[in-house]
């Protein structure tokens, strides 16, 4: 561009330009002023000339390169001659000999008898026949026979597929011209495409190329911009004048922009490096949402494709809690360890970084120690828990259901304290108080004992339990709160007495506390606040200030260091794991943030929330309400689940009936392609699945209670092998996610057997899902072409393998079918109302199984985890090495001539020598 711009015609200088413009104006009446045309022509010629030059230059460059290459090649071919000559004594090179003979003969040197003899000694004819105008022609060289080699039956190169793939756009033959020449002449163009389709050469919106820009710019520069100029330019480029106008404006703007362009590039480069972390989570997840298949759990799924509609399940997963890992620090930077070392290191700075460096090992050690102690106490806790739960009144039911396992554990620990005898060393408590604090432990135990004596109601005892460890929490906190510690525990005692009168309220508050169990310092001070409002609001605000101050010092600074994506991940973590910084750190922010940092952030954001929403009043109402909401939502969920179960077990319910009916109704029709619906409530009339006539599957958004769901089976002894099994009857495979009793064992059992569900009968209706297929061999068919053979003998109705291929639309299949018909081979297989399987270029060995009206196999379209797949099954007992045939079941009007009339005469058993009439080659 720049080089071209510097070349412009020197013939037209500024004054000329001015004149031109005037002339143009004066001659506006002229249809096409000569000046415009001449300028354009001149520029066109210039462009063409430059093009010639550039081609010439490139040709020249290429030529130089080629010279080097060919010289090198020549050198190596000369070397070959020399090398060959040097070791020519190894044996006779007949080609060289013949060459020499021919040369000699031409030169008139008669091949002497001696030479003749010699060559006969070698066992070779003297050879060489000269064919030329001036030399006598000797008749024919004796031809050397090339022994026949067995040819392969024809096939097109194909790629193995172990699962179906959807056709990619570039594989389509629709709208693409296919040219045939007739067999005899090889000249005539027979067929392009069927008539119904017009290959529209859609006029693509061409981009302006550099040269057009140049002409455009120079023309307007020289003769100014007028309608005429634009028109003539338009006719020159064969575009519309409007386009030219727009382009010109773009160009003039572009020129101005060029100046600052370079700067921008630099900026962009520096920008790119950090884009990943600057993105927020949604943007980062964008590619995940687009590329990850939630049905196959793989990226870039070839079956369901990219950019699938996102279906979010209406039912949220319960928060995931760890099993038996509580209170074990997740690593040296676990908040537990940090807190502990913080406490141990009484004189130390509260800064985390210091602690990290100084005490990673010690905190680790303590962690392990604690876990040991915990185990013993937990046992007792479990035992206790049962009686405790049964004891607890209905008011507590919510709490129990709501609280995650970890919370349960904590509460149980609290209970242990009540139960266990007071020896100091045994009482470890929630935070795992080291022995050093024996004084405090004693104090705490004392409190507990006091409480116990009070013999509260069940609900009250629960609140006691939490109160019992609350001071403990407080004690763990940083040194700055050491003083608070004592005051708080004492104040707690004070506070408690008024609350006793209102046990319900207390328990709710506790519930909140428990919900936020894992919180530190700031929150525990909030816990104090919880009780304060009852007494005075002034206290509340005071402590809040204190909290804020604390936050401002440490956490605010940290908050800034949290990148958008980290925050996003953190929020997801809260969704998945609840307020468990260990799990979040390990699973989501590994390498980015430590557990301790997350912990701090958690508290910080919690407090910020509170202070913002609460705005000086009771900051807990918010959190309290939230906790309560959670409870309500979950409990509703539980209820719903209970109902689902009931429905699930009554398999003779209406749902099955309607499905069966649908199946029978549609017996002869192709099945319907399933697409997950995204209903968020139980599917109504608008449900996409219902409208489409398919069942809802586990991939749908709708809740499990949806009436349109297929409910699976609960077969046991029948092993889902007959139509007794609702899954089998509906031509579906069982799905362990849906069916109740369906399970399979792994391996041959030497590695142990998994927990068996139901009775001891494993499901036999999951073979496609588990790829439990027979070994199929590819070989020369006894009929014609290729054939598929079975390696091991199988019994009747045994699953042999899947017929895989490309999933193509019916329209595409019609087109391809025409092409395949010409080649007299088709690998198309009707799958459902939307798709046809084509195994022509992609498939597996079963595509080579031939058609027979008296087959030994049958094909069946089966729904496997929401997808239709074709399974090939044995129709009878098949012995090892037998060729596989199945009935292609052509639609009567579409069958090729040879497949229309079954020629076979009932004789089924002709394994060894199948008559050629029995089965015909298709594949």
């Amino acid at each position: 561009m720049a080089s071209k711009a510097s070349l412009p015609s020197s013939s037209v200088d500024r004054s000329d330009l001015h004149d031109d413009t005037q002339i143009t104006k004066s001659q506006e009446q002229d249809p096409i002023p000569k000046e415009i045309l001449s300028v354009i022509d001149f520029l066109k010629k210039q462009v063409a000339g430059e093009r010639c030059n550039s081609v010439q230059k490139r040709m020249e460059e290429n030529k130089q390169k080629l010279v080097g290459i060919t010289t090198h090649l020549l050198k190596s071919s000369t070397e070959r001659r020399i090398r060959r000559a040097s070791d020519s004594d190894k044996g006779v090179d007949l080609l060289t000999k013949r060459q020499k003979d021919a040369l000699d003969m031409q030169n008139g040197i008669n091949v002497s008898d001696g030479e003749n003899d010699r060559s006969q000694e070698d066992g070779h004819e003297p050879s060489a026949v000269l064919l030329g105008s001036n030399v006598a022609v000797r008749n024919a060289v004796r031809p050397i026979k090339l022994p026949e080699a067995k040819t392969l039956p024809p096939y097109t190169t194909w790629i193995f597929l172990d699962r179906n793939q959807r056709m990619t756009e570039d594989q389509s033959v629709v709208g693409r011209r296919r040219i045939y020449y007739d067999q005899s002449g090889g000249e005539a163009l027979i067929c392009s495409d069927s008539e119904e389709e017009v290959i529209e050469d859609e006029e693509e919106k061409r981009d302006f190329v550099e040269s057009e820009d140049y002409i455009l710019r120079m023309t307007i520069k020289e003769i100014g911009s007028s309608d005429l100029v634009l028109e003539s330019l338009a006719s020159c480029f064969s575009r519309s004048p409007g386009e030219i106008q727009v382009r010109y404006e773009v160009l003039t703007q572009g020129e101005k922009a060029v100046g600052c362009f370079n700067n921008r590039i630099n900026e962009e480069i520096s920008h790119i490096a950090s884009t990943f972390l600057d993105k927020d989570l949604d943007a980062a997840l964008d590619s995940f949402d687009n590329l990850f298949c939630r049905r196959c759990l793989v990226f870039d799924c070839r079956l369901h494709g990219c950019s699938q509609d996102l279906v979010f399940p209406a039912e949220k997963q319960p928060k995931w809690g760890p099993v038996g890992e509580e209170n074990v620090p997740c690593g040296p930077l676990c908040y537990r360890s940090v807190l502990k070392s913080d406490k141990n290191y009484t004189g130390g700075s509260p800064l985390r970084s210091d602690l990290e460096e100084k005490h990673p090992m010690s905190s680790d050690g303590t962690g392990a120690q604690i876990s040991k102690k915990k185990k013993s106490s937990r046992k007792a806790a479990r035992r206790r828990a049962k009686s405790y739960q049964s004891e607890s009144a209905s008011s507590n039911a919510k709490n129990i259901s709501e609280s995650s396992e970890s919370e349960n554990e904590l509460r149980q620990d609290g209970n242990t304290i009540h139960q266990s005898p007071p020896p100091n060393s045994k009482i470890t408590g929630v935070g795992g108080i080291p022995k050093r604090n024996s004084k405090r432990v004693a104090e705490r135990v004392l409190i507990c004992m006091q409480k116990k004596q009070k013999k509260m109601a069940a609900s009250e005892s629960e609140s006691l339990a939490s109160v019992g460890h609350c001071p403990n929490d407080v004690k763990i906190k940083s040194n700055s709160y050491k003083e608070n510690d004592d005051t708080s525990s004492s104040s707690r005692k004070n506070i408690r007495s008024p609350t006793v009168g209102r046990p319900r309220r207390e328990s709710l508050t506790q519930q909140y506390n428990k919900f936020e169990q894992n919180e530190t310092l700031n929150n525990s001070s909030n816990e104090i606040i919880t009780h304060l409002p009852i007494d005075s609001c002034d206290d509340n605000s005071r402590i809040e200030e204190c909290v804020d101050e604390n936050l401002c010092k440490q956490d605010l600074a940290e908050d800034k260091s949290w990148k958008a994506i980290e925050k996003g991940l953190y929020e997801k973590g809260i969704e998945i794991f609840g307020r468990n910084s260990c799990l979040i750190a390990r699973n989501l922010l590994n390498g980015m943030k430590t557990c301790w940092e997350i912990f701090q952030h958690m508290n910080y954001s919690e407090n910020k929330n509170c202070s913002q929403v609460g705005d000086g009043s009771n900051p807990h109402l918010d959190g309290y309400a939230k906790g309560n909401n959670e409870v309500r939502r979950r409990s509703r969920f539980l209820r719903r689940r209970g109902r689902v179960r009931r429905l699930k077990y009554t398999w003779k319910s209406a749902a099955y009936h309607s499905i069966r009916k649908r199946i029978t109704e549609r017996k002869d029709q192709p099945c319907r392609q399933y697409n997950p619906c995204s209903c968020q409530t139980a599917c109504g009339k608008q449900c996409a699945c219902l409208l489409n006539g398919t069942c809802c599957e586990k991939y749908c958004g709708c809740p499990k209670s949806c009436k349109n769901r297929f409910r699976g089976c609960h077969c046991a002894k029948s092993q889902c092998r007959s139509r007794q099994c609702p899954c089998f009857a509906a031509d579906r495979e069982c799905d362990p996610d849906v069916c109740r009793n369906c399970w399979v064992s792994c391996g041959d059992g030497t590695l142990g057997v998994p927990n068996q569900r139901g009775d001891n009968y494993e499901c036999r209706n999951m073979k496609l899902l588990l790829k439990q297929q027979q070994r199929v061999l590819l070989g020369r068919s006894d009929i014609s072409g290729w054939g598929a053979f079975l390696k091991n003998s199988v019994g009747k109705h045994e699953y042999l393998g899947e017929y895989t291929g490309e999933l193509i639309s019916h329209r595409e299949a019609d087109k391809r079918g025409k092409i395949y018909d010409r080649e007299n081979s088709s690998f198309l297989f009707n799958l459902n109302d939307q798709f046809v399987l084509d195994a022509y270029r992609k498939g597996d060995k079963l595509k080579f199984a031939n058609h027979s009206p008296v087959p030994n196999c049958y094909a069946k379209v089966i729904m496997v985890a929401g997808d239709h797949r074709v399974g090939i099954f044995a129709k009878e007992r098949i012995s090892a090495g037998e060729e596989l045939f199945y009935d292609y079941r052509y639609e009567p009007d579409r069958a090729p001539a040879w497949a229309r009339k079954p020629e076979a005469s009932g004789s089924k058993k002709d394994d060894g020598a199948p008559s050629s009439g029995r089965a015909k080659k298709l594949a």
Binding site: A48, C52, R80, A128, T157, I179
Partner: protein, 370 residues
């Protein structure tokens, strides 16, 4: 592709012969009744620069060009299968230096004949349909590549008889592959073209370890881990009909369809996104009456000139590397009326051979201008 935007038009050669060189017929021989589909000089060993091979029907014949227009028959091979119809032949060399003639045709079997011992060396079975072209890697002449009707291109090691790579699959040709060629200097690169109207450039760089492995393989060839190369690095839609011949000219590609011309173009690949790119059509070499498919052109050793026959039995000799292209000569003979399937130019371009549909071989020699 009919329209070129301003500033990217190809330079089209003029059909007026420059008469730089003139050729005349010095020999004509009838090999048989069946059409001859291929003729090729040996460029790999300088001893055999005057030796060429032809195929037609079930015969493979080796000749020598002698002074004065004389052609000597050196060897003749006949496939015992009378239905075999060879379409293509190429010279290759074993690692020990013995000359091989590699031929393939309708049966889909590649016949490797050791011309040094006049025996069949190996037969490669694997292609699912007929073989349309075989070419030899000039830098490693024991590697040959074959283009087949089964929509694949395969790379073979003639020494060990191994099929190393199969170029087919998701990004492969959608119809018969008619022609294939090795890049002259980039050993990893090949270009193939066929009835799906495209030219595809493939790279075997990532698979080169397999190529090396094939030389030292001692187990059965069938046990070799043959790899599929499913995606080409470049797909060019230069033509709108069958593309039946493509050759590298340095980094450019010469290709022809049934449009009465040879096209020279440059593939401009995008580094970041393989498979994409643009085509810059640089030059065109018109060839009148050349609108049937399976007519192949040939170049001399240094790629100075290309010769191509046409439907009417005429030959056009183009100077390849000049811009604009110059037609060196138009060769015609009263008795040459049959379509010329392929031509062969000798090392220095002084001899042009043509093989015809009617089974004749014509030899044209350059006339020394005094």
């Amino acid at each position: 592709m009919a329209k070129y935007s301003l500033g990217s038009e190809p330079v089209v050669g003029s059909l007026t012969p420059s008469r730089k060189r003139e050729y005349r017929v010095t020999n004509r021989l009838q090999e048989g009744k069946r059409p001859l589909y291929a003729v090729v000089f040996n460029f790999i060993d300088s001893r055999y620069f005057n030796v060429f091979a032809t195929v037609g029907g079930n015969r493979v014949t080796v000749y020598q060009c002698l002074e004065g227009g004389v052609i000597a028959v050196l060897q003749s091979y006949v496939d015992e299968d009378k239905d075999e119809s060879f379409y293509t032949v190429s010279w290759a060399f074993n690692v020990d230096g013995s000359p091989f003639v590699v031929a393939g045709g309708i049966n889909g079997i590649i016949r490797v004949i050791d011309a040094g011992s006049e025996k069949i060396y190996k037969s490669f079975v694997g292609h699912g349909d007929s073989i349309n072209e075989i070419r030899t890697q000039p830098l490693k002449p024991s590697l040959v590549i074959s283009a087949s009707k089964d929509e694949s291109v395969r790379l073979w090691n003639v020494h060990t008889g191994i099929c190393i790579l199969v170029f087919a699959g998701a990004g492969g040709h959608r119809n018969e592959v008619l022609s294939v060629d090795f890049h002259p200097s980039d050993i990893y690169r090949i270009a193939s073209c066929g009835m799906d109207n495209t030219v595809k450039i493939w790279s075997m760089k990532e698979f080169w370890t397999y190529v090396e492995k094939s030389f030292t393989w001692t187990d059965l060839p069938s046990k070799f881990p043959t790899k599929y190369v499913q995606f080409p690095v470049f797909i060019a839609s230069v033509h709108s009909n069958y593309v039946d011949c493509s050759r590298w000219l340095g980094d450019f590609i010469l290709s022809k369809s049934v449009d009465n011309e040879i096209v020279l173009w440059e593939p401009k690949m995008k580094e970041q996104s393989p498979g994409e790119g643009t085509v810059d059509i640089l030059q065109k070499y018109p060839v009148p009456e050349c609108d049937i498919w399976f007519i192949k052109f040939s170049c001399d050793f240094h790629y100075n000139a290309a010769a191509i026959g046409n439907r009417e039995g005429k030959i056009f000799v183009w100077e390849l590397q000049s811009s604009p292209p110059v037609l060196i000569a138009r060769l015609s003979h009263a008795q040459s009326k049959s379509p010329i399937r392929q031509t062969a130019m000798s090392f220095d371009g002084s001899i042009i051979l043509s093989c015809c549909e009617d089974g004749t071989i014509w030899r044209w020699d350059v006339m020394t201008t005094s």
